[in-house]
Amino acid sequence: MNSPSRLPFYIAVFLLISAGISLAVWRHIELGIPWLTGEQRPVWMVEARVDFNGTGEPVVASLNVPEQPPGFRILTEQAASPGYGFSIIDKAGSRRAEWTKREVAGPQTLYFKAQFIPDPDAEPSPPAQPPKTKRLFWEEPEATAVREILSKAEARSSTPESMTRELIKLMQPDTRIQNTTLLVSGENYLQLLVDMLNHSGIPARTADGLKLEDARRRQQLTPFLQIYNGERWLTLNPKTAAQGVPEDLLLWRQGSESLLDVVGGSNSEISFSMLRQTIPALQLAAMEADDNGLGFLSFYELPIEEQSMFRMLLLLPLGALVVAFMRIVIGIRTSGTFMPVLIAVAFVQTTLVPGLIAFLSVVSIGLLMRGYLSSLNLLLVSRISALIILVIFITAGLSIFGYQMGFSTGMTVTFFPMVIIAWTIERMSILWEEEGGQEVLIQGSGSLFVAICAYLLMSAPLAGHLTFNFPELHFTILGLILLMGQYTGYKLSELRRFSPMKVYD
């Protein structure tokens, strides 16, 4: 029976469903919103502590802070230092935290804290212009030694990376030749490497890294070598020539700026302590949502009150899906199409058992009163209006009665939508008069069954989590409901209803 004109419909439904799912997957990957509730993510809290002695003069303390360390994303930054003015200054190529104070005397301690999220994909953006090399002037006999070592390394290499590796090898103590011993003396090893690489035309610089270990204090930075290979900066271990940044290494400083400058103080020192923390993945996603411009796609930026309202509202489509499924595919008869959803919403607020008791007592008392109303031969509108007022009386009565008896659950009656209950009573009563009590029982229990199913689905923590954090999944629900609108197969109940037809087969 499928005429070709339905093809666009199915394509549209398919697009809706796949759009919903793929948007959700994309947002999961891009924003890190977790699929499940209660998922935790590790975060490194790193604290830099700056100590110096004030000399009674105005002080400017400026600390290089990470801008975009490879392998990490910065979540939060804060400084703790009473009495100091603080700001973070972005200059080309470097970010510096700056503390200022007019008069400083005695030992001083400044703190800078930042939270880092491990993210293997985080990469510093490549420099806009390729960095320039600085050629140094070497005096003899160093000049000859440098020339010879460089030519040796150059002969054994093809790229800036391999050149650097060969150079590091040549500079190691066990392979040292006379030329190198002449050059290397004590502390200048790394700077010498940088100078030699620059001399050979490879842009190079130093970087400082912090090895991340849980609950360590008073740690120092370890120096690293960075070279520019024409596309981006590469990090190498200056001793082993191992390339790349280890997973537990946070590059605190990159570029040639100094780590710490203190003007107006003496004996400045810096040390680091760190802590591995876990925070809920959802909170993390919400915090990051504002930053990366995708925040407008979610509800996190709404005021809390509106958020909780949407939490409830976004559950409704699930209830509608349950009702559509139960009526179209299973064939359960309910009184009033969407009455079960609204009852289920009320159950979510009252919890199931008190809600059921309250609902059943209101409806049955209402039915008794409606019996009298029907003998008055009133017109529909005034009959319903009278019923609404009666329902309010009943709920008020039940609340007060329950409260006096010491059941605070009696109060939950007020969560039920009065107008819907009035209509339910009206329909049930007409049904009773026209079709008898059995039909009332069938439809009443059918409605309650669907309401309970919808309640169970809507009150599942996962359902609330997914509908609120992935609102695009409602496209999928919409697609499913549209698809069900085209279902022309037998309902489950019809397999029973038509069972006497067996004899004709």
Partner: protein, 315 residues
């Protein structure tokens, strides 16, 4: 619990609720034609133009002040029925079968005064029985005196014949007999007996009550096997003609056989139920598909009724 597999149902060609709604009612019934069948007065007027007889219209009460004329008119009448035009499911229908001095005698035997009937009319006008409570119109019709050959099968009430008409072709028919359980009404889900009728001959096939097969009427105790409807081809043609009148592609036509006037149209239904298949022991789908696959539909109601009698009895 007794179940039937969907494959068996498919083989029998049973039409189900979802398919009826999507593939037939939604596709073949124009929304704009619904008022024609939901309003009994409009139905009466429109089918009259196509030569379909309905119970004679005695009076239409549209406004409160017209009620006073009802008493004058009812003075000479022995039997009549008061119906709300937009009533559904037999609500608000009062049948007067005779007179006892100044009183009117209802079908149940109760005697009521004219003032009671007038109040009933007021209630109808105010919309007490109409869907959604909208203001309504009351119609007063001549009393249908059921043909005694059929009336004897029914417990109270008038037996009626439901014919499903698809694109003007009568596709399936059944006789509905009121029972004590159905309170004199011919509604199947209230417990009336449905007797399937052979579309080719008008003879009874088998009978069901509450979806279960029966052979005897539960109240009158009469055998339901050998019922034969007279003037069957005339009735089918009449049902077929309603298609031209309303334009509804898929509808139920309810006919009664009056002892004096012959077949009369009682009402039309834009959402006919599925129980007719159980009464016939056959599914509707093979017949509906046969009509859909016709390359050249027949033009006159007579031709369509003939085609149905020849073809569908075998399907």
């Amino acid at each position: 619990m007794d179940w039937i597999s969907p494959r068996v149902l498919n083989r029998l060609g049973m039409l189900n609720m979802n398919r009826r709604n999507v593939d037939y009612i939604a596709r073949y019934n124009e929304r704009s034609s619904y008022p024609l069948v939901d309003n009994k007065l409009k139905t009466k007027l429109v089918v009259a133009e196509y030569g379909v007889k309905t119970p004679r219209l005695l009076q239409v009460v549209r406004h409160q002040h017209e009620i006073s004329r009802f008493r004058e008119m009812a003075e000479e009448l022995a039997g009549f029925a008061i119906k709300p035009a937009k009533g559904s499911g037999g609500k608000g229908i009062t049948v007067i079968t005779g007179r006892d001095e100044d009183y009117f005698v209802k079908a149940s035997g109760a005697r009521v005064g004219a003032s009671v009937l007038e109040r009933h009319l007021t209630n109808i006008l105010a919309g007490l029985y109409s869907l959604a409570g909208t203001p309504d119109v009351a119609i007063v019709e001549n009393l249908v005196e059921s043909d005694p050959s059929l009336a004897r099968y029914s417990y109270q009430g008038v037996p009626d014949i439901r014919i499903v008409v698809f694109q003007g072709y009568p596709v399936m028919a059944m006789l509905r007999l009121a029972t004590k359980a159905s309170d004199g009404k011919a509604n199947l889900h209230q417990g009336a007996v449905g007797v399937g009728l052979d579309i080719g001959t008008g003879r009874s096939l088998n009978a069901v009550q509450f979806n279960r097969p029966i052979t005897l009427h539960p109240d009158t105790g009469l055998e339901l096997e050998n019922i034969n409807i007279d003037a069957w081809d005339e009735m089918l043609e009449m049902a077929s003609r309603c298609y031209e009148a309303t334009g509804l592609g898929y509808m139920g036509v309810d006919l009664v056989v009056d002892a004096n006037e012959g077949p009369l149209l009682l009402e039309l239904n834009a959402r006919p139920g599925l129980a007719i298949q159980m009464a016939n022991g056959r599914g509707l789908l093979p017949r509906l598909r046969a009509v859909e696959s016709l390359k050249r539909p027949h033009f006159t109601p007579g031709e369509r009724a003939n085609y149905a009698m020849e073809t569908f009895a075998r399907l």
